[in-house]
């Protein structure tokens, strides 16, 4: 009843150029894709805007493609499409695992990967895998295209590196051979919930030696983060329990969690350690 959307102007451009023009010309306008975060915020007046520019039917923003060396994911791709995509399950299993932990089937059929990233919640579940994959975010504005590395995209609590009239166009992930991966999420219930802590790990282990490793977390800092120091601890070393232990301890030292309605700083730090350990063990193949 009282969750009716306030009166707003609604635009559904067919092209990116038109979308950018609308964003530039209309004061207090905002991009909408799936709307699963934004519409709730608008209905409860947490967000007030005058106009919405719906980018979900712009063909350039849709689709998942294998470009040979790179995977391209359009920003307005629905989460459920990621789960059902063979390209994703074959090349980006870590992303698939993270998306499977998100929302309900109904929500995943509306929500988009770009929406999850641009909403820039510290708890965004698509962020840790993309940080781990070192994905690149292609954004477009009136000045044209530019590429922002995923690790530079989140600049502060709910803030991204996007300029006011820019739109996230697509996500590019270079293909790489990873021997192991793991997404471990702890929420307040078994599913359909935001994370208290989640850890994503990618690992390349050859003959028991870690050639490369990526560790990323959400909900433990103002933005989703990479645990670079912990990665350094592991990289180039021989896989062992004590190595995992040391890396997990380093992760716990890298995070800067807070107390909030979902959990406490203390528990999040403890779980950063534990979940990092679980995720590393699995990704490094010792679980």
């Amino acid at each position: 009843m009282y969750y009716k959307l306030p009166k707003i102007d609604y635009y559904r451009p067919k092209t990116l150029d038109e979308a950018i023009r609308l964003l530039r010309e209309i004061d207090n306008s905002r991009v909408i894709a799936g709307g699963t975060d934004l519409l709730v915020d608008m209905k409860t007046s947490r967000v007030r805007v005058r106009a919405l520019v719906d980018i979900s039917s712009i063909p350039d923003l849709r689709g998942i493609e294998d470009l040979g060396r790179t995977i391209r994911i359009g920003a307005a791709t629905r989460l459920q499409e990621l789960i059902e995509s063979n390209v994703v399950s074959q090349n980006l299993p870590l992303l698939k695992a993270a998306v499977e932990s998100m929302g309900s089937w109904q929500i995943r059929n509306m929500a988009t990967i770009g929406g999850n990233l641009c909403n820039a919640s510290p708890a965004a579940d698509t962020a840790p895998p993309l940080l781990a994959y070192d994905a690149e975010f292609v954004v477009i504005g009136s000045e044209g295209l530019r590429v922002i590395p995923s690790t530079k995209f989140f600049v502060g609590y709910r803030k991204t590196a996007l300029n006011p009239c820019e739109i996230l166009k697509e996500i590019l992930v270079k293909k790489s051979e990873w021997s192991g991966w793991s997404y471990v999420k702890l929420g307040r219930r078994g599913g359909f919930t935001l994370s208290v802590v989640a850890v994503a790990v990618l690992a390349k282990v050859i003959d028991g030696v870690v050639y490369d490793v990526r560790i990323a977390l959400n909900s433990v800092a103002p933005v989703p983060i990479r645990a670079y120091k912990a990665e350094e601890v592991v990289r180039g070393k021989r896989v062992s329990w004590s190595l995992i232990e040391e890396a997990a301890n380093t992760v716990a030292g890298e995070v800067t969690p807070i107390d909030d309605v979902r959990s406490t700083s203390w528990y999040r730090r403890e779980m950063s350690y534990q979940l990092a350990k679980d995720a590393l063990a699995k990704a490094l193949g010792v679980a």
Partner: protein, 778 residues
């Protein structure tokens, strides 16, 4: 043949019915299809073009004197028609259920963050939404109290000044001599338990649509569990006779007790606006408004000491129960009574001393919620039972069976139970079916590794009807039309539990002998006789006694008529499933019987008033009659605990119930399953978070987390012990609340078993459990 009109005779006749056509069967609910198709109408669905919209303006301070309510800015919008405050109430503003401490709209003071201050009415939701933010309270802040233990001690800060204390209400039970009892004890266990609030999260928030001048009355369609109580409150607030107020509870999207408290208030607030504006007004709570303002399950501190002798018998209990009542008593005194009376659990205890305190704080009030004060005290009592058993070296089930109430036992209030006590048999069967002994031993011996398994048991009892001698009754009105179709009028509502759409139809069909599809129940209306509330697990038990009596009267009239008309004995008359057989020659259909009866002047309308016989309770002595009957339940729960994260997973739940006759097994099953899942949510994850100013921080479903199918364990088919109750419809007792009550205790006992560490505080969030398991891991 004489017509039987006497309620007791009629109740007894059907109590002993053996071969039933529809009673005891899983008959399909009459509302299942329309609900599945989305055609069932809830309050908001009755909205029509041109109706006005209303929302509450809520207080934004926990404790303050009101200097002025300034809504001039709200009225600047021409679409906002009026803002109503306590000044606009033509009748009384005082609406406290148990004690006169609660205003319908804040007057003089605000006592909690979220208290209703004003009703804002406008032509569209957008205007009303903005206007609500433009209602300002000029206040003089007062120091606020949030901790009940502190509030009890403080005399300098008073939430209700006229009372001279922050203790709203006290209760007590006394039996024997506890000092002597403890002196005979070989083992004594003493602990302080803490339980927390719970939000109802009914899918449909509170709403009321008040329509003036419909049938020349104020008609209010509301989310309400007791239409006649709504009628009384609306009548009081508007200063109109009850006969000018009509309340309708359409389909309700969940209640769980919350709409028993808030229902009459939402109805009165909507009616107030419609009364002044002389136009239909829909008052609707947003989810946030609902969570901020409506009463919650009580938070408690329970100090519990109990002793037992070497031969495994309880010797004494001494219990202090403190309920955080929040800003108003609401139904707190009744909730506290129930907790006090049930403090022992369903055991024979020779010596008992129980004291209860209902304490004001500047928080959202406590209120009715499935179990009504009982889950928290059973959590304490059943945790004690496990620890006593452990100290005595006894199996927890054996120890419980040793002390279990039986027919002839007297309870802690000194009430002798004369019949309907099937819990001993229920627990015994449950223990066997669940493989309790083997698993208990196996898990005890395997307390190593990351995931630990535990199995726990808890037993609970729940008095049917209101506590002590508080009057309780049942009623209904049944009318058979000339075509043989039957209307049943009841005040019982349909809020998901299904009594009007299943068991009531079964009872009428069985008793009249008519086909079940002839029976149409008109429910949730003040046009039915006052049936009492749909709470306290009474919809199909106490609430349906009136249906048995009314239907029984008509049946008796039909039999008497046939007996005289055909000159046969009653034994020669069979009316069953729409077929009427008289003697060995005459056979007719139900419709033919009704037509014949009409033509010969048989009265086919009847009411079925029944006043429940009760004893007396001496409040000063703390002794006497508590309840006309008790429902019982035993639950065995298996859990798995990840000691590295503190996550608890409930794997399997085995229930056994002693609830008298089961009228509809499927309906009971759904109540049991729903209560178990709700109990898992309460015990493991649900938790209100309060800010420093008493505001509920997680007033939405993103951050107030309830269980989903992910948390739903394997729930085994319930074992039923049909310990019929003399006054119940066909012997039925209440079931709606039952499975919730032992869940906190059963889960806590299972987790304690898994870890070898006693749990005394809820909820068992991963964080709380981890703070325990971290010590185990080191």
């Amino acid at each position: 043949m004489i017509v039987v009109e006497d309620p007791r005779t009629l109740i007894r006749r059907w109590l002993s019915a053996e071969s039933c056509i529809v009673v005891g069967k899983s008959i399909e609910r009459s509302d299942s299809l329309e609900k599945a198709l989305g055609r069932a109408r809830f309050v908001e669905d009755y909205l029509e073009e041109g109706y006005l919209f209303a929302r509450l303006a809520l207080a934004k301070a926990p404790h303050a004197r009101i200097k002025k309510i300034d809504y001039s800015k709200a009225l600047e919008d021409p679409k906002v028609l009026r803002v109503f405050t306590y000044r606009d109430i033509p009748g009384e503003n005082q609406v406290g259920y148990a004690v006169p401490d609660q205003p319908l709209l804040a007057e003089g003071k605000v006592r909690y963050y979220g208290e209703a201050v004003a009703v804002v009415v406008g032509k569209d939701p957008d205007s009303v939404n903005s206007a609500v933010e433009n209602v300002f309270l000029e206040i003089e802040p007062l120091p606020a109290l949030f901790d009940p233990l502190e509030a009890m001690e403080r005399g300098d800060i008073l939430i209700h000044e006229s009372l001279g204390s922050n203790i709203a209400f006290r209760t007590k039970v006394r039996k024997g001599d506890v000092e002597e009892g403890f002196s005979k004890a070989d083992v004594v266990v003493e602990n302080t338990y803490r339980t927390h609030h719970q939000e109802h999260v009914y899918l449909e928030p509170e709403a009321a649509l008040a329509i003036p001048d419909l049938e020349n009355r104020m008609t209010v369609i509301a989310t309400i569990q007791y239409p006649h109580l709504g009628q009384k409150i609306v009548s009081k607030v508007l200063g109109l006779p009850s006969s000018y107020i009509k309340i309708i509870a359409p389909y309700i999207g969940g209640g769980f007790g919350g709409k028993d408290d808030e229902g009459p208030l939402v109805a009165a607030r909507a009616a107030l606006a419609a009364y002044h504006l002389r136009r239909p007004v829909l008052l609707y709570y947003t989810r946030e408004d609902s969570i901020q303002t409506h009463p919650k399950r009580e938070a408690t501190v329970i100090k519990y000491k109990s002793g037992a002798s070497k031969d495994g018998k309880l010797t004494a209990i001494e219990v202090t129960i403190i309920h955080d009542s929040g800003a108003y008593a609401n139904r707190g005194p009744f909730i506290l009574w129930r907790a006090t009376m049930h403090a022992s659990g369903p055991y024979y205890v020779p010596n008992a001393k129980v004291d209860g305190y209902c304490v004001y704080t500047n928080k959202v009030p406590q209120g009715s919620f499935r179990g009504f004060g009982n889950p928290s005290v059973q959590f304490a009592a059943e945790s004690q039972m496990d620890q006593l058993a452990e100290k005595l070296g006894l199996d927890p089930v054996e120890f419980r069976l040793n002390n279990m109430l039986r027919v002839g036992s007297d309870t802690i209030t000194g009430q002798v139970l004369t019949s309907s006590v099937g819990i001993h048999e229920a627990l015994k069967k449950l223990s066997a079916v669940s493989n309790w002994r083997v698993k208990r031993l196996e898990y005890s011996e395997r307390r190593t590794g990351r995931t630990r398994r535990g199995i726990g048991v808890a037993v609970a009892w729940h008095g049917n009807s209101t506590s002590r001698a508080v009057p309780d009754w049942s009623n209904s009105y049944i009318h058979i039309s000339r075509d043989g179709s039957v209307n049943v009028y009841t005040g019982i509502v349909e809020m998901g539990q299904g009594s009007p759409s299943s068991s009531h139809r079964q009872l009428v069909s069985e008793i009249l002998g008519c086909p079940i599809d002839k029976v149409k129940v008109v429910f949730g209306t003040t046009d039915a006789p006052d049936t009492g509330a749909t709470h306290a697990s009474r919809g199909t038990s106490v609430g349906a006694i009136g249906i048995v009596v009314a239907a029984g009267r008509i049946r008796s009239r039909l039999e008497s008529f046939l007996s005289e008309y055909y000159n046969v004995q009653r034994e020669e008359i069979k009316i069953s499933d729409g077929v009427v057989i008289v003697g060995n020659k005459i056979k007719m259909s139900w419709e033919e019987l009704v037509a014949l009866a009409y033509s010969k002047g048989v009265d086919l309308s009847a009411t079925g008033y029944f006043f429940l016989p009760k004893g007396t309770f001496d409040d000063d002595a703390g002794r006497g009659f508590a309840y006309p009957a008790f429902s019982f339940i035993a639950i065995i729960v298996e859990v798995e605990v990840d000691i590295y994260t503190g996550r608890v997973k409930v794997l399997e739940v085995h229930p056994a119930l002693a609830i008298g006759r089961v009228i509809n097994p499927d309906a009971v099953k759904t109540q049991v399953e729903g209560a178990i899942i709700q109990g898992i949510g309460y015990t493991l994850m649900e938790k209100l978070v309060f800010a420093d100013d008493g505001r509920i921080v997680n007033d939405n479903l993103t951050d107030y987390v309830i269980p989903t199918s992910h948390e739903t364990p394997v729930i085994r088919n319930a074992i039923f012990v049909e310990d019929v109750w003399d006054y119940g419809p066909f012997g039925a007792k209440g079931v709606g609340e039952m499975a919730f009550i032992p869940m906190p205790a059963a889960i806590a006992n299972a987790v304690s078993h898994a870890l070898g560490v006693r749990i005394t505080e809820l909820p068992l969030t991963p964080e709380k459990v981890y703070s325990i398991t971290k010590q185990l891991v080191g």
